[in-house]
Symmetry: C2
Subunit: 504 residues, 2 copies
């Protein structure tokens, strides 16, 4: 069995090396690639995807899994194996099973339609005309339904799709946590709307990009980001990617006239990167060296960005430094005013610009629409109307056109249905972990006010990062916090924090 | 046969895509890669090398070649095929034959020894102690001899090695052109040494890197380098690489206290890049889209760097612009003085810093030593002494230690024996082509003085670049210039030019 396992590990290693190579191609495409290289880059990526597929769907692999005792009922294989090897088998077998269930023709057709559909989405958004996009969305939806049928599910086709991004979670579970979240967030938004709005105008002054960069890099260092195992570059949309186990890169973008974009983006991406840089040596370079779910990954970025990076204690340490970097811009702004400014809550049309209170409502809106679209309960042609009605219901505002409404996100155009919930699950996981962290570390406000970010990273490494995908998100949540995922902690955090800011 | 050819072309296409992917990994490693990513990067490169090898040495390929009528006697296959397809077959079969002759164990052992030997070379050079390196060089030499035997040759084992870099050329041919070159260069060096030396001290003033970069990029644009199909970055050693058919990148390095390093390096690399960017559409993305030999490639870089970039006419156009960029540094320096300064000739120890007159003597020295080492006529232990004797004989100077003598180049440490001559062949090809170009274009000095670099690029595209590897270097030389390679044109060019500078 040791030998069989070694063969599986060797296959996995090749897959990881090819995946990292593909990550470098992607990183380069978004950062430094000359514009006309795009056509061949797509061919290179497609070749690598094929090589990865061939390694996963190889004729010997079922036999190798069987020899390790892996079955659908016993996904972790023989009990004599180590827990780590059993986690490896479970995850590898899961990848294999999902990939092998989707016929190649469907993959090709989805990929082809996604390209067409993405181009049409760009056109439709620029013209703010959903009718241009709707025939393509219908096709994508149809193919995605077929994909869900091929993969299989118990209760809802959504489960088959969600499972790609948030493994082992079902739409019913999401619905449960979201239903509580929705009600309480709506209440909170109403309370805040009835309160005196805070000022953020000073954040719209001129913040030269070079100084933003210098300040951001100093914060990255404090967070424990290792520039010998990563780097930061500029791209249109910030992201984190891993061209190697010791090579986890982040990107950012700066707006000279809006301070929040740069720094909070950097802290967010660094949160992702620290997860990827924190896997223990035993799993480094294997498929277990990955975030165990997108929700879990997002919990790391959002914890750093919001729970830590937008806390008063954090700015007790950093605000004096920030004032040194931007003395003119922040001249008459007190720490408290700055803190309130970076935490301003305001219902807006665009998800990616939303604050941490309204953000999850944008997600729940999409989740509910996706569920209804998949079953056919909601027709694509009725989507803009449904979107606008929910915006009105959730946030009390209504898009004036499709571009700032139903056409704002790229995800559906390439069939990424089931992805959105993970953003919001990240908020929930994050707050729940954070509560345990606070219990373990003691006076976390004091720790932050002293700028001692190292002890926070140590806690995250020990409790979350090192394990990679050894535990499922559910297992990890229960292991660390002692209970299953709940929206309570996130909501309580928001209620308490914004009470302090808005005094409702 | 059409179908067989298509299969071969599909195999080649995969090889090209993997080769370009590997080029991106290499580019990244030299420019932006975080330091600790190096270990996995080597694994990624090794995996890609294996994938490329598997595609070339695949069980069907001999049958495919045979079906196209390819034999050792008829390397271009059936005469009914187009000239381009026949050139494709000849080159592909050549790659296959070379690769298949070298046993995998020998490749692995050479690669292993090369790693060890490179590390020892670094140590030996830093301690300036050849004895540290010599046992490793002996092994490398032994393995390289084995490789030559496996590949096979008619007259001299050197031919098997040279052929990797300068296909279809023999050491006898190199010896012939070099013997003429050596004598006349030695005479020229002596004449110059007896003349009044020119001043270059103004090139050692402070030239801020940002201004150097701006000036260099302007020259690149004038040369016709397309920044939509390439880019320029900084690396320790300048190079040109192709991560895609529409993605040919160059790198440079600047020395703030030595103007020549940056600009002439940029022009040199751009010469390489323009070759790679100039292949005609019909061969783009295939194995024919490559320089037909390293010597031919080097002819392009050296033509731009030396024949054009160090000409008086070129600076008639650019010197006023350069003075605008560096008014203080060049205040009292006339065009003539500047021209003489950038063309200063002086025998020095280090090849990579040599001027265009002494450069080829450094190469001939290495070529002669390589020949003697391969046959065993010269023993590794006697190499430093032989090196120093030749330096004395060729350039009238003698290294004070091994670091500035026999240990200066990395090439031998990884088995690149047979590579050096291509640098010098580039000078010869370049001068011979340039003479034909001058005949075709008319008053080239007037063209350069007007800054009309576009007509030069057009000539190079039409006569050289577009063909890629369709013709061998020898075929191309005869096709363009009407005669085989000769050292005459290079020597005459040098004699005439330096007569004007040194008035000997």
């Amino acid at each position: 069995m040791e030998q069989t396992l070694s063969r599986l590990k060797a296959i996995d290693r090749e897959i990881q090396l090819l995946t990292h190579t593909s990550a470098l191609l992607g990183w380069d495409q978004e950062t430094y690639m000359p514009s006309r290289a795009i056509k061949e880059r797509a061919e290179q990526q497609s070749l690598l995807a094929g090589l990865i597929h061939d390694r996963l769907i190889n004729p010997d692999i079922e036999g190798l899994f069987a020899a390790c005792g892996v079955t659908d009922e016993n996904p972790k294989g023989h009990e004599s194996l180590s827990e780590q090897d059993r986690a490896f088998l479970r995850l590898f077998h899961r990848h294999y099973t999902r990939e092998s269930k989707i016929p190649k023709e469907l993959v090709v057709e989805l990929s082809r339609q996604a390209s067409l559909s993405q181009a049409k989405w760009i056109e439709a958004r620029s013209k703010s005309d959903f009718a241009i996009f709707s025939p393509y969305l219908k096709k994508i939806l149809d193919l995605t339904r077929q994909k869900a049928e091929k993969i299989g599910y118990k209760d809802h086709p959504y489960d088959a799709l969600l499972d790609e991004f948030e493994p082992w979670m079902t739409s019913r579970e999401v619905s449960e946590v979201f239903s509580d979240l929705k009600k309480r967030l709506q209440t909170l938004v109403r309370k805040i709307a009835a309160s005196k709005q805070v000022d953020e105008s000073f954040l719209l002054k001129d913040f030269p990009v070079d100084e933003q960069d210098e300040f951001g890099r100093a914060v990255l260092k404090d967070m424990g980001y290792d520039f010998e195992r990563g780097r930061m570059d500029i791209s249109a949309h910030p992201f984190t990617t891993g061209p190697g186990a010791d090579d986890i890169r982040i990107t950012t973008r700066y707006q000279a006239d809006f301070f929040k974009t740069g720094l909070f983006g950097i802290i967010h991406e660094c949160g992702h990167a620290l997860y990827e840089l924190g896997f223990k040596d035993e799993i480094k370079g294997t498929l277990l060296a990955s975030g165990t779910s997108l929700g879990l990954h997002e919990s790391q970025s959002r914890t750093w960005e919001n729970l830590i990076g937008r806390s008063l204690s954090f700015w007790k340490h950093y605000y004096p430094k920030l004032k040194t970097s931007f003395p003119e811009q922040l001249k008459d702004i007190s720490l408290e005013e700055f803190y309130r400014g970076v935490n301003r809550v305001e219902p807006t049309m665009i998800r990616v610009e939303a604050d941490e209170v309204t953000y999850s409502l944008h997600i729940i809106l999409r989740f509910e629409l996706e569920l209804a679209l998949l079953t056919g309960e909601l027709k694509v042609d009725d989507l803009p109307e449904a979107w606008n009605a929910k915006m009105e219901e959730f946030l009390g505002i209504c898009p004036e056109n499709d571009a700032e409404g139903v056409l704002q996100d790229i995800h559906w155009s390439f069939g990424a249905i089931g992805y959105f919930p993970t953003y919001s699950l990240g908020n929930l996981y994050g707050a729940q972990f954070y509560r345990t962290m606070k219990r373990d570390l003691g006076d976390i406000d004091d720790i932050l006010a002293k700028g001692n970010l190292g002890s926070i990273l140590s806690w995250l490494r020990k409790n979350i990062h090192q394990h990679g995908s050894i535990y499922t998100a559910r297992e990890l949540c229960e292991k660390v916090t002692g209970e299953p995922l709940s929206a309570d902690y996130f909501i309580s955090y928001l209620e308490e924090k914004y009470q302090g800011i808005y005094h409702y």
